[in-house]
């Protein structure tokens, strides 16, 4: 018979007791988790059966519209693409790899940016408030949207990118490159999906790190000229970022998420009621800093240009984006108008005009002031003159300077291509800049959706009122694209500049009519 040491026995008992307690705690935690799952499911179950949810009929109608769109537009486009030469040729491995890298890294950056504003964890404010008021851990109720929404987005990107590649490139002419293109699209879809979540749950610094790493990796992979390596790198990056992003869900800032959800809900309401510009306004950054910079030391107001610049600098991120867009737009416009790049010049020209248009909107707040001053009743008696000079001086100066600098840089890099048609190029770029400013004026003077747009517009192709409403939402962009196309079709540069001026006049006249009707 062995005699047990009392100390050892007590230790053993304590160990057994501790083990039993640990088991009990584990069991309780497991039960609590099961209970949490049940509670979350109960909430989603009841929410999905709410009183005013979309009916089966409305869902069927949406499906009908999708099928109709597919039959009328997508199938003929696919057929046409299958029977015509590719718009962009990517026969060499180097070109294909470069295009795939550019696409993948753009998808990653765009997804990150989208996540900062409207990430996958954004819920209906009421449902989020209900969950946030409970003792449930965030992973219990945010886990499902964190998994499902990026998965849906990744799949949608995979299908869209494959379709776009099939329609515009020759990658699907051979089975080998076709399979590699699908693999790249899958990798890019997975990376974009996880980057979307990453953009929302990680800090701004982490996002900059991921964006820089993605850019650097894209450069390295482009040098190797191996298309399959793009897919492997994207998939590996998606695995790493996905794991880290999912781990961050449990520590997500719920107060910030509540604010984002409230803003998204309001924006959704605006978008669904036909005023997308009001929805976008909700995402404008709040001005900060330079609180007394509008005045000179003597107390007098600064000039129009200085005031516009100060107001622009109060939203530095937005102004930085404007500078980038204007420089890029100026360079692309110059290359496009001169046809110096040797590629699709009209496409480059249009892309440059679109960039300049987007940059013009971000260059300053004075557009908004002009609209308010033109449409709202004056606070202090009668209207004062000079509103247009006060409001338009800064954007005109900013857009002209930005595009000039961008265009100048592009011309300096390829001077030999310009020396014989400098005057034409200058004329075309100037015409496009004027067109861009006119289109921006048209867009900024927009207020509420005109009721006349809700009336049916019957044509042999059916009711086109929906198309008109969509065009109204993006009227500035439509004016830029159509204006550039018309200008490009002109027989000579002077004629093109004249056409651009005419289109601008139409835009300005329509914008002025909008301000008058809004009074």
């Amino acid at each position: 018979m062995t005699r047990q040491d009392p100390v050892t026995s007590a230790e053993a008992e304590a160990e057994v007791e501790a083990d039993t307690e640990t088991e009990a705690e584990t069991r309780l935690e497991a039960e609590a988790e099961a209970e949490a799952g049940d509670r979350v499911r109960a909430v989603w179950h009841r929410y999905s059966r709410r009183g005013d949810r979309a009916s089966a009929g409305s869902r069927a109608y949406t499906a009908y519209l999708v099928v109709l769109f597919g039959t009328l537009f997508l199938v003929p486009a696919l057929h046409a693409a299958a029977t015509s030469p590719a718009l962009v040729s990517l026969r060499t491995p180097g070109a294909a790899t470069a295009a795939a890298c550019a696409f993948t890294v753009t998808a990653c950056w765009t997804a990150q940016l989208a996540g900062r504003f409207w990430g996958p964890l954004v819920l209906q404010p009421f449902v989020l408030h209900v969950f946030m008021s409970t003792d449930l851990p965030p992973t219990a109720y945010l886990g499902r949207p964190a998994r499902r929404r990026p998965a849906y987005a990744g799949t949608a990107l995979l299908l869209a990118s494959c379709t776009a590649a099939y329609l515009t490139t020759d990658l699907f002419d051979h089975v080998g490159t076709g399979l590699q293109a699908v693999a790249v699209a899958a990798g890019a879809g997975a990376l974009a999906a996880t980057a979307w979540l990453w953009g929302q749950v990680r800090t701004a610094r982490d996002n900059l790190v991921l964006a820089s790493a993605a850019g650097a990796a894209a450069v390295v992979v482009t040098v190797t000229a191996q298309l399959w390596l793009v897919a492997v790198a994207a998939a590996a990056a998606a695995t790493v970022t996905g794991r880290a992003a999912f781990r961050s869900v449990r520590t997500v800032d719920l107060s910030r998420l509540a604010r984002e959800s409230a803003r998204a809900s309001q924006a959704q309401t605006y978008a669904l009621t036909g005023t997308l510009h009001h929805a976008l306004d909700l995402y404008r950054p709040e001005p900060r800093g330079l609180t007394s910079a509008l005045f000179r030391p003597g107390g007098r107001l600064r000039g129009h240009v200085s005031r516009g610049a100060v107001r622009a600098l109060r939203t530095p991120g937005r102004t930085g984006a404007a500078a980038l867009l204007l420089l890029t737009g100026g360079a692309a416009m110059t290359l496009g108008t001169a046809g110096a790049y040797g590629g699709p010049a009209p496409l480059l020209w249009t892309a440059g005009a679109c960039c300049a248009y987007l940059g013009a909107g971000r260059a300053g707040e004075t557009w908004r002031g002009l609209r308010d001053e033109s449409t709202l009743p004056p606070l202090y008696g009668g209207r004062r003159g000079g509103a247009f000079a006060r409001a338009l001086t800064w954007p005109v100066v900013a857009v002209t300077t930005g595009t000039l600098l961008g265009g100048g840089a592009a011309a300096a890099a390829r001077w030999s291509s310009y020396d014989d048609r400098t005057a034409e190029t200058v004329l075309l770029v100037a015409g496009t800049v004027v067109l861009v400013l006119g289109a921006r004026f048209l867009r900024e003077m927009k207020s509420n959706l005109p009721l006349s747009l809700l009336l049916p517009v019957m044509t042999p192709f059916g009711d086109l009122s929906g198309l008109l409403i969509a065009a109204w939402q993006f009227d500035g962009l439509v004016a830029v694209v159509l204006g550039t196309a018309v200008t490009h079709a002109a027989p000579s540069a002077p004629w093109a500049a004249l056409l651009a001026a005419g289109t601008t006049a139409c835009c300005v006249w329509t914008g002025l009519r909008r301000t008058r009707s809004a009074r």
Binding site: E35, D38, V130, L136
Partner: protein, 208 residues
């Protein structure tokens, strides 16, 4: 016995302005306390301090002996509140929303429907329960907000002027419900200007 809600010299100052003068009290389980005082004396600031959304510049507040922390699940389990505006779902009826809050605590059990029906009935919302939020008056919206707050289990409840937009009859209804919940063991801290609610309280913190 540890007090459910306790303040010890809790004060908030912002520059030269005093938002909440040093305040001390203790509310035990089942006690209904009210906070009274003029506008700007710090009633809502005190409630926010207990919620954990407002930092104190002096003193302390405790919930069950621990400082409040919104990120702590235990704190969220202990505390229900109607201090900040509550977002509502435009596409759900009042009953559906109250039931959804109950479901977030009781899951898919019979207790969910029972709790929701009981609070809807006690607040006189049964006839309006199938309406959407935009179809009810301001006073009825206030009762709806109270229903969303009181349908869940809690050791402590913070209410900021629950009498807002309510007529005399509805105020008495609310006072009765709060007294009943307090008797069941819940501690209440209610910022109010309403004499009927003050009369129903076990203790009073006078600010200003």
């Amino acid at each position: 016995m540890v007090a459910v809600l306790a303040a010890d010299g809790a004060a908030v100052t912002l520059g030269d302005a005093t938002l909440l003068e040093p305040t001390s009290f203790e509310a035990g389980p089942g006690e209904l306390w009210c906070v009274t005082g003029g506008n700007g004396t710090g009633k809502t600031t005190l409630l926010r301090a207990f919620l954990g959304t407002r930092s104190l510049t002096a003193g302390s507040v405790c919930v069950r002996g621990e400082p409040p922390a919104r990120t702590d699940p235990r704190h969220r389990r202990l505390m229900a509140s109607l201090v900040e505006p509550v977002p509502v779902a435009r596409d759900m009826t009042l009953r559906e929303q109250v039931t959804l809050v109950a479901a977030s605590w009781y899951g898919n059990s019979a207790a969910t429907t029972e709790a929701a029906d009981r609070v809807v009935e006690r607040l006189g919302l049964s006839a309006l329960a199938e309406r959407f939020p935009h179809q009810v008056s301001s006073g009825q919206s206030q009762l709806f907000g109270l229903a969303l707050t009181l349908v869940r289990p809690a050791d402590a409840v913070l209410l900021d002027e629950p009498e807002r937009h309510l007529d005399r009859h509805r105020v008495d209804l609310v006072a009765d419900l709060l007294t009943e919940r307090a008797q069941a063991g819940t501690a209440f801290l209610v910022a109010t200007h309403e004499p009927a609610l003050v009369a129903a309280c076990d203790g009073r913190v006078e600010l200003g």
